[in-house]
């Protein structure tokens, strides 16, 4: 029973990631693609948690933390790059 539920949820997360990839390909503007990428990162976190249940090990929990941090920093860098065309500002005057 529990095995079945976990497998079904893994399939559902896979469907979500496929739809987000579709939005990345279709996306009319750059922020659309970044939002879809952020969503893929968040869903990967959930998938790794489910996989760690399936493999019955607690070794993948660091991966969850690091993937969360990387996804957040990536989204921030993309949004700064879209807004001001630079990521690292040498002189910040505002």
């Amino acid at each position: 029973m529990i095995e079945t539920m976990i497998t079904i949820s893994l399939v559902l997360f896979t469907i979500t990631i496929c739809i987000a990839v579709l939005r990345i390909i279709l996306g009319p503007s750059m922020p659309d693609r970044v939002i879809a990428l952020d969503m893929i990162g968040v869903n990967l976190i959930a998938m790794i948690a489910v996989v760690s249940i399936m493999l019955n090990t607690a070794a993948f929990f660091e991966v969850i933390l690091i993937l969360g941090i990387l996804s957040f920093i990536g989204t921030i860098a993309f949004s700064k790059s879209i807004e001001r065309r630079v990521i690292i500002e040498r002189k910040r005057d505002r």
């Binding site: 559902l12 939002i35 959930a46 807004e83």
Partner: protein, 152 residues
């Protein structure tokens, strides 16, 4: 059915709910008309989905292996803190880089706050262009009249 099995079942149920919420947010991402409405679907319900899944994983490991995983709790807190911030920043960048709103949206109040001066300049330019167009029309009308008078 002892306590551990019930706990594992609740964890698996939370994970399944998270999977359904994730699919619902994916449908929002593919069907909504513009980037602002899409960000609602992508950030809010996706955060809910991943929170449910991580909570289910936490409960599952707590009851099946008696592991109280602090790392999973840290991951929950981190996702809960950062996902709305990332969504807000990317939508702000989208508005500042002038991504168009959907055609069905009726009002844009932020435009007047952010771009009031530019809008006034645009209005002045438009008024001047209108004047020029009127002048050109008058000249053309005068030419036509001249042509008619020449023919007659």
């Amino acid at each position: 059915m002892n306590v551990n099995e019930i706990g594992e079942f609740i964890g698996a149920l939370l994970i399944l709910t998270g999977g359904f919420a994730s699919v619902i947010s994916a449908f929002g991402l593919i069907r909504l008309p513009d980037v602002y409405t899409r960000s609602h679907a992508a950030t809010k319900s996706s955060t809910l989905a991943v929170l449910l899944t991580l909570l289910g994983t936490f409960l599952y490991f707590l009851f099946s292996q008696q592991i109280f995983s602090v790392r999973l709790l840290l991951g929950i807190i981190f996702v809960f803190l950062t996902a709305p911030v990332a969504g807000h920043l990317i939508v702000r960048a989208a508005y500042r880089s002038k991504v168009k709103l959907a055609d069905i949206s009726t009002e844009d109040e932020l435009f007047e706050v952010l771009y009031k001066e530019e809008k006034e300049k645009e209005n002045e330019v438009e008024i001047e262009e209108d004047k020029e167009v009127e002048v050109v029309d008058e000249i053309e009308i005068a030419k036509e009249n001249d042509g008619i008078s020449d023919k007659s």
